[in-house]
Symmetry: C2
Subunit: 216 residues, 2 copies
């Protein structure tokens, strides 16, 4: 009898399901949902298609599981930003954690990007539920820091967007980044350079200014 509706029972099932999810992450993140076939995933996982379908009842189901897991990972770093810490250090810390994620979990980043790009059909509920609440909460923290004059006054929501954008860019647009940097600067050091840049960049952008000179 097929499993997959109830949680995995045996250790073997858990391990095989893990193997499939690992393979599926490879395939999905590279080719998108529609661009990936069950056969590809099965081969990458070292098993036959019907065998894979014994562990997951459909391609959709694999994808859904993958996305659900991803979301937890994705929210964690923002959650971690602490109201009581030093504002600039906390924000920079968040930026660094996000860059590390782009470096270490590029497949997850691309899977997420693909989902957003196509209208978030399987994520919508979570976006204007959990995510919105978390961002609103953290935006308030940023706002307090701004009102206390500890960082520059900027739209907190868009500030968070800018962090997402600049950091995830290094995973999602990796091909472009590497092409533009070329063989000398586009190697393994690019994440180090990116981190340095973003740190300087955000330190500058967040420095509160006594007198305003931001008008054109």
């Amino acid at each position: 009898m097929a499993i997959s509706e109830t949680g995995p029972k045996t250790r073997i099932q858990a391990r095989k399901r893990e193997l499939i999810l690992e393979a599926a992450l490879d395939i999905f993140s590279e080719n998108g949902f529609r661009g990936s076939t069950i056969d590809q995933i099965a081969e990458a996982a070292g098993m036959s298609k019907p065998n894979l379908l014994y562990y997951f009842r459909s391609k959709e189901h694999i994808h859904e599981t993958l996305i659900h897991r991803l979301l937890e990972t994705w929210l964690a770093p923002l959650e971690h930003m602490n109201e009581d810490g030093d504002p600039v250090a906390e924000i920079i810390g968040y930026v660094r954690r996000k860059i590390e994620m782009s470096r270490d979990l590029p497949r997850e980043s691309r899977l997420f990007a693909n989902e957003m790009l196509h209208g978030a059909p399987r994520t919508m509920a979570m976006l204007d539920g959990e995510l919105k609440e978390l961002v609103d909460k953290k935006a308030l923290v940023l706002k307090h820091w701004m009102e206390a004059g500890r960082i520059a006054t900027l739209d907190p929501w868009h500030l968070i967007f800018s962090i997402w954008a600049t950091t995830q860019h290094y995973a999602d647009f990796d091909v472009q980044v590497r092409a533009v940097l070329g063989s000398t600067r586009g190697g393994d050091g690019r994440f180090h350079d990116a981190t340095n840049f973003l740190q300087q960049f955000y330190v500058n952008a967040l420095r509160p200014q006594g007198k305003d000179n931001s008008n054109t």
Copy 2:
């Protein structure tokens, strides 16, 4: 006899091909290449599948044409950044043009993003050809501005990446942006807010500083 290899001959052909490309942009940008079918595109263009295939010899060919056109549009705004202008005004101007593109050409942005996300199979040559050359050229301009002390010293390439990332984010991650901002702030005004934020943000980040206080 089918056309499509040689350029369009009559005005009717040109108009029909245009119609198809317009429909294809809708479909491709929403569903990705593999996720789109010729039937969908044909229906959106108001014609039958064989009729569409009379104007373009394959799905691949439509996509290729679309991508090629897109690239010209995509490079134009950076080209426009002028060495002889005021550095901050020039950079901010570039940011504004990019944001306008995210607002007015979101389908093109998503088509491009999708291409990058999946490894730029049909764009690679142009990335480390034309694009790299252009970026290198403009990075040099930025470097000169920095050396003259007119803007803060930052890695010029990564500075350009940050502009791409922050602006394109509003097209590519539109669903997420709208969900997080909610119904009140996520309406039509979001691009206006984004523009204001990014302007302030870049003005801050680029302001050169006499004394260094960027270390942790």
